[in-house]
Amino acid sequence: MKRRYTISVFTENFIGILSRITLIFTRRGINIDGFTASESREEGIYRITIEVNTTEEQVIQLSRQIEKIIDVIKAFYYIDDEMVFQEIALYKIPIESIDAGLEMVIRQYNAKIISAEKGFVVIEMTGHKKDTQDLLEVLKGFNVLEFVRSGRVAVAKPMVSIDKYL
């Protein structure tokens, strides 16, 4: 049965590591739905968060193959219930669309205006994909000029630390 998995990868900071990881997905023809990379708590260790819709059997294989990459320290995989995760979305709205209705929407969705430029404002919202997608649908009534959403950042609920793998 296919479901959403998040693979959390801890790596050394090594040129080419992202290519090596994505190759594992392309080779099996699996689409990556979200991909983020950042430094972890440990200096010099990076963590990559990959979202993928697949079977448990396959996510086990993928995680093992990622872990086999020399500069990968550890790869964990989780279902959504095992993670706390967030995504950020930005919406660009023309000045002319601003009215009382927009204020209502921003309050209702707990979004905020982070920048006002000549001719447009940028609204930011963080949340799960469903929430930011809902807001997009509503804002389409206000003439969205641009929309972008990040991949998820996530921390795991199980208390495993990367320390024991170093």
Binding site: G16, K68, I70, L166
Partner: protein, 564 residues
């Protein structure tokens, strides 16, 4: 800068010497010239073999590595030199062969600008290497080579590529070689937990029809004597994969033959009759399993394996024994009961007799007019030494030679298994021979494959390596033709070859030559080949349209193996 500093190019060579590399297989060119210049002063410490093509260099390094157990070293220039190594890297990756390939790269300020002979070899080789790196600073050269050797040879071995920009080769730096022993993100030898050993031993002890399959992991893990001791005690019948062949002598009483598409009848068929299947250092290749949905479904599977990605990849293991198989086997030997399985082994022998009657007799002692590949191998067996090395290419001759060559010792079967690279044999045989000029190296090759790397006859000439080349010539790409006959309605689309006069070519390269087209001359010709000291080329004209049997057709189950 001080007086003790040396150029990066010299650091490359000194690092290879520090790693005890005896040979470099390579080909010079613009971006690697500083390293070749440095090599000029080290010819007494390391031997460079100039092949005729970079693909020849890497296959020679593979042949050397497979026979010696050491890391094979390749050297090539940027661009086409580097890309010509790719097939060999892919081959070494899938067959777990330790290699360190060093390529020159354009000046670092030209990277990404489409400079002359620039190619992104790190990008191209990524899926074909265990690890790769580009070095742009002289101080990073020795650490990269040290790391590369460690990664290539440890755990499940594989190829490594180190791409060094020309400016790093000519810059001055200090040389202080520190071997790499540990990388924190890389754990090549998972520890074998005792609980798993107990579980495996209990399953083996309770088995009525246990069956053991061994692959190249036994050879790579140097666990041949442990395998034998385990079999001595348990009395379990054992069969080998293509690359595991030789880990156990074929004289061993409980050896029952070879697995796979063109393996033996009994070992394939009875895979679906055993109750416990013990697989050691093998990866259930589709050429071994046939239709995996109908493969050993009745059996509990114990999988001894070093590489975690192989566990459950194709066949689900009931008891995965992750770790070094030498260690696992030693622990298992303590825990298993002394047993014999005469009735079960008899089942193998009955089917073996059937295969002998239907297939083997006609292959080895044919009554028809045309020569068979099998009878050539029979005569080779008659004269070869016990530790003779057989190097084969890819195709019908590979399967026939593998089926009939009598393997007595380990590391005597050198072939391109996983990738099936035509053109592998001739350069690989050279590499195998260089490891030891006193060992017999027999290169059995087809008329298709030899023409993919035939230029390496020149390297054999130059090194005077006494390789015995046996060309089995059927004027066809025989294996493809066999498939066309069986599965494509005899539509022989582009498989028949108009061949050159191979004897003249070999003579041109100073080989002692002999050509046989009649059975009456065959035995004598093979005998002469074995007494000759020096490169030898024997061409045997074999039957044009022979097929290799037994055969498990693609998509069939192991129990549907055909004898004809």
């Amino acid at each position: 800068m001080n007086d003790s500093q040396i150029r990066g190019a010299e650091i490359v060579i000194k690092s290879l010497v520090a790693e005890n590399a005896k040979f470099i297989f390579g080909y010079p060119g613009g971006a690697i010239m500083p390293v070749y210049d440095a090599l000029y002063d080290y010819m007494d410490q390391i031997q460079h073999i100039l092949t005729r093509h970079e693909q020849g260099a890497i296959h020679a390094a593979q042949g050397y590595a497979r026979v010696s157990g050491k890391v094979g070293v390749c050297l090539a220039t940027s661009g086409p030199g580097a890309t010509n190594l790719i097939t060999g890297m892919a081959d070494a990756l899938i067959d777990s062969t330790p290699l360190v390939c060093i390529t020159g790269q354009v000046l670092s300020h030209l990277l990404g600008t489409d400079a002359f002979q620039e190619t992104d070899v790190v990008g191209i080789s990524m899926p074909a290497t265990k690890w790769n790196i580009q070095v742009r600073r002289v101080e990073d050269i020795a650490p990269a080579i040290a790391k590369g050797f460690h990664i290539a040879r440890s755990g499940r071995p594989g190829p490594v590529l180190i791409d060094i920009t020309k400016d790093a080769q000519v810059a001055l730096g200090d040389f202080n070689y520190v071997p790499c022993l540990n990388i924190r993100s890389y754990r090549p030898y998972p520890k074998v937990p005792d609980s798993v050993i107990d579980e495996a031993a209990a399953l083996i002890n309770s088995a009525q029809r246990p069956y053991l399959l061994y692959g190249q992991g036994v050879v790579l893990g140097k666990a041949e004597s442990q395998l034998k001791a385990f079999l001595d005690k348990t009395g379990i019948p054992a069969a080998c994969t293509l690359l595991g062949t030789g880990a156990l002598s074929e004289d061993y009483p409980n050896y029952v033959g070879k697995l796979g598409m063109h393996g033996n009848y009994a070992p394939n068929l009875l895979t679906n009759k055993c109750d416990v299947l013990i697989s050691i250092g093998m990866r259930f290749d589709d050429r071994v399993t046939g239709d995996v949905k109908r493969y050993a479904k009745q059996a509990k599977v114990i999988h001894l394996e070093l590489d975690p990605t192989e566990i459950d990849k194709i066949v689900k293991a009931d008891v995965p024994v992750l770790g070094d198989c030498k260690v696992s086997l030693e622990k298992l030997i303590e825990k298993v009961e002394k047993k014999e399985h005469p009735e079960w082994i008899k089942q193998f022998r009955v089917l073996e007799a059937e295969e002998k009657r239907v297939v083997v007799g006609n292959d080895l002692s044919p009554t028809k007019i045309g020569l068979t590949m099998g009878e050539v191998i029979r005569h080779i067996n008659e004269f070869k030494a016990d530790d003779a090395i057989l190097v084969t290419d890819v195709g019908q001759h590979q399967m026939v030679a593998w089926r009939y060559f009598e393997y007595k010792t380990t590391r005597t079967q050198i072939t391109s298994g996983g990738l099936g690279t035509m053109g592998f044999a001739l350069p690989a045989a050279l590499g195998a021979q260089l490891h030891d000029y006193d060992r017999e190296v027999i290169c059995v090759v087809g008329d298709g494959g030899i023409q993919m790397t035939i230029q390496e006859l020149g390297t054999i000439m130059q090194t005077k390596a006494p390789v015995k080349v046996v060309l089995l010539n059927n004027n066809f790409l025989g294996m493809v033709r066999q498939w066309q006959q069986l599965f494509f309605d005899k539509r022989y689309s582009f498989t028949e070859l108009d061949n050159p006069d191979f004897i003249k070519i070999a003579e041109g390269y100073n080989f002692k030559v002999q050509k046989v087209d009649e059975r009456a001359d065959l035995r004598q010709a093979v005998a002469e080949m074995f007494v000759h000291h020096g490169p030898y080329f024997l061409e045997v004209k074999v039957e044009k349209e022979d097929n290799v049997f037994p055969m498990i057709a693609t998509g069939s189950s192991v129990e549907e193996i055909r004898l004809r």
